[in-house]
């Protein structure tokens, strides 16, 4: 297997692409209309690339995944995989493998027979299918568990059996629905790292769906953020983390995000006040800064170099790990992180009046 982590050169690095490489990979425009809900998502993924559909619950991510697998019919758009139109192909005839959120391992079959199920359906003899299944399970470090029924597997093991089962059909498109959601925090860390390794080895198209930004950023080369059935932003994880374009993404990556009109270093925010930024821009921009860059004062500070200073009021406080996240309203609604000690010293409580300051160097402005 190759090491096709980079989207740009993936098609060149993939060994078994067809002669016409421009067709290789996934080229989809998924339109599913159901009642008042409309999913309209365009998706192009090169072989070897891992793309994460990230979005809040109900955004249509799972519908998109089901449409790719053929489990939910498209009401419009197109779906081409390696140059072949798949819109009318039933799920059993699509070269697609799916790892379901709760794995859906067949409870009456052993791990080995679960994985052998796909090859059997593709016409392999029982012995042949089992040999292939044993190989896949071995590759995923499950050689000792071939004879186990799903209920005797741990969450992490079940997840790998589900991955082996999906890979055993040699799909050209691998779909993963919330692959880590069913795991507890401890196993999650470990399984996430393993899954990243396995996905990196996978030479065809992989699309995963998650609402967890960390899963998305660790596992995927590129994020496609879906809100309300539409793509609101897409790009490399680092880019999206630095330059969120919607409140949802900003909250996900833990940033304060504002829209405004830039005139040099000064940005007049739609929310009211203006803010001074490092970048000098013109026209409509986003301005983002992390809650940890906000400093709070009970008295109006004197001799503070921060030129971004706003009178606010504490609306709420919540513990965030070993930090306190203060939710502020007032001149500029924002989130501020501070240590428990600092919160105690400032005598913060809901309703308390505070001054919030952010250094211009901590802010980041980018065009809309």
């Amino acid at each position: 297997m190759t090491e096709p982590r980079h989207a740009s050169d993936a098609s060149a690095a993939t060994p078994d692409v067809r002669a016409d490489t421009s067709d290789a990979g996934l080229d989809a425009h998924l339109v599913v209309e159901r009642g008042t809900f409309r999913l309209d998502v365009a998706l192009r993924v090169a072989p070897g690339e891992v793309v994460a559909l990230l979005g809040p619950n109900g955004a249509g991510k799972t519908t998109a995944l089901r449409a790719l697998a053929g489990l939910t019919p498209l009401t419009g758009g197109r779906l081409r995989l390696d140059g072949t139109a798949l819109e009318r192909t039933p799920p059993e005839s699509r070269p697609v493998g799916v790892v379901f959120q709760d794995y859906l391992l067949f409870p009456h079959l052993t791990a080995l027979d679960n994985v052998a199920f796909g090859p059997r359906c593709q016409g392999a003899s029982k012995a042949e299918a089992r040999a292939q299944a044993a190989e896949w399970l071995g590759r995923l470090g499950l050689a000792e568990h071939v004879g186990a029924k799903p209920r005797r597997l741990s969450g992490g093991q079940a997840q790998r059996v589900a991955l082996a089962r999906a890979l055993a059909t040699r799909p050209r498109l691998l779909l993963l629905d919330e692959p880590l959601a069913a795991l507890d925090a401890r196993t999650r860390l470990e399984v996430r790292a393993q899954l990243r390794r396995h996905l990196a080895e996978f030479e065809a198209v992989a699309v995963l769906v998650t609402h967890d930004p960390l899963d998305a950023m660790v596992l995927a080369d590129r994020l496609v953020v879906v809100e309300d059935g539409r793509v609101v932003q897409e790009g490399a994880p680092s880019d999206i983390a630095r330059r969120p374009r919607t409140d949802y993404i900003a909250q996900l990556v833990g940033l304060n995000l504002y829209r405004g009109e830039a005139d040099g270093h000064a940005v007049q925010l739609d929310a009211g006040p203006s803010i001074t930024t490092t970048e000098a821009l013109r026209g409509p921009v986003f301005v983002a800064f992390p809650p940890s860059s906000v400093t709070l004062y009970r008295e109006r500070p004197t001799g503070v170099s921060a030129r971004n200073l706003w009178a606010c009021e504490v609306a709420g406080l919540e513990t965030h790990g070993d930090q306190i996240r203060a939710d502020l309203t007032g001149e500029l609604p924002l989130a501020a992180d501070l240590t428990t000690v600092a919160a105690a010293e400032l005598d913060l409580h809901p309703g308390a009046a505070v001054w919030a300051a952010v250094k211009a160097t901590q802010t980041h402005a980018y065009p809309v």
Binding site: A69, G70, L71, P90, P91, E92, S93, R94, V96, G97, V98, F100, L104, F106, P107, H108, F117, G118, C121, Q122, R165, A166, T169
Partner: protein, 290 residues
């Protein structure tokens, strides 16, 4: 079984017909939730109503001559015919009833509610009416039977096959309803998972759904078998009452009652024993449900 009993004695001083609500209290420390007499009395009456006839059957059983009665050729003939026909009717119900249950549970089609109602109809239809209906359909002059007779020389009424058909007609709805319920409770996403692995709908049914709903199918089959074993009305109407050919146990019991009541009791005991065995077999599934 235990019943809350008034331990305070007969309480003759209770105001009869008085305005106060009379309650039978449960034993000491039982939480003080009494069972009202207007419920307890009919409940006990209902219990007696169901149990006393069975006890009577046991009390009046000719235990001494029982071995002779049960080993007589007629009894064995009827019992064997009953077991064979009930099993065959169950097999027929499985082969065509399980796919029908799947269709009702998994495929959306117009008029599905109506079809389900039609499938359930034999459950409430008087079996004699079922027998008459079968005659109209499969009898020598029936709408299908006429054609079977002229084209293949096949006649179904008053044959052992006719017994199987009559029993299957009455028993299959039990199986269909039971299996359909199990299918509805089973997660259809397993079938989707099978589809993404390349399984056709039929393969998914055979290799995934069927094993998953096996307990429901078994329960439905036992229920259908028990119903077929006791089938009387449709059988005697459609298949008649020929010893060795169409005379099943229930028919033999009815006939014996007119000539030889002791034999009827003996035959009834056999059917009672079979029923108890069936119930015992289903114990884990249903009797613990409460």
């Amino acid at each position: 079984m235990t019943f809350p009993v008034d331990k305070s004695g007969a309480a003759p001083d209770t105001l009869r017909g008085g305005p106060r609500r009379r309650r039978v209290r449960t034993g000491e420390g039982a939480g003080g939730r009494g069972v009202p007499l207007p419920l307890l009395v009919p409940a006990l009456l209902g219990l007696a109503f169901l149990i006393v006839p069975l006890i009577a059957l046991l009390v009046r059983a000719p235990w001494r001559s029982l071995p002779d009665l049960l080993t007589s050729a007629e009894v064995w003939q009827a019992l064997r015919l009953s077991l064979v026909c009930a099993t065959a009717a169950t097999a027929v119900s499985l082969v065509i009833g399980v796919p029908l249950a799947w269709l009702l549970a998994r495929v959306e089609f117009p008029g599905r509610g109506l079809v389900r109602a039609l499938v359930t109809l034999p459950l409430v239809l008087p079996p004699v009416v079922g027998g008459v209906a079968l005659l109209m359909a499969l009898g020598r002059n029936g709408i299908v039977g006429k054609w079977l007779d002229s084209s293949f020389g096949v006649t179904l009424p008053f044959t052992t096959t006719g017994v199987v058909i009559a029993e299957a007609f009455v028993a299959m709805p039990f199986l269909v309803i039971s299996v359909e319920g199990t299918l509805r409770a089973a997660d259809p996403r397993y079938e989707e998972a099978a589809a993404t692995l390349g399984a056709s709908r039929f393969t998914a049914f055979r290799r995934v759904t069927l094993p998953l709903i096996a307990p429901g199918i078994a329960a439905g089959a036992v229920l259908a078998w028990a119903r077929a074993l006791g089938e009387f009305g449709a059988t005697i109407t459609f298949a008649g009452n020929f010893p060795g050919r169409t005379q099943t146990m229930p028919l033999a019991v009815y006939l014996a009652l007119q000539s030889d009541p002791e034999a009827a009791i003996a035959l009834s005991l056999v059917l009672l024993a079979v029923s108890v065995a069936v119930l015992a077999g289903l114990r884990d599934r249903w009797m613990t449900a409460g």
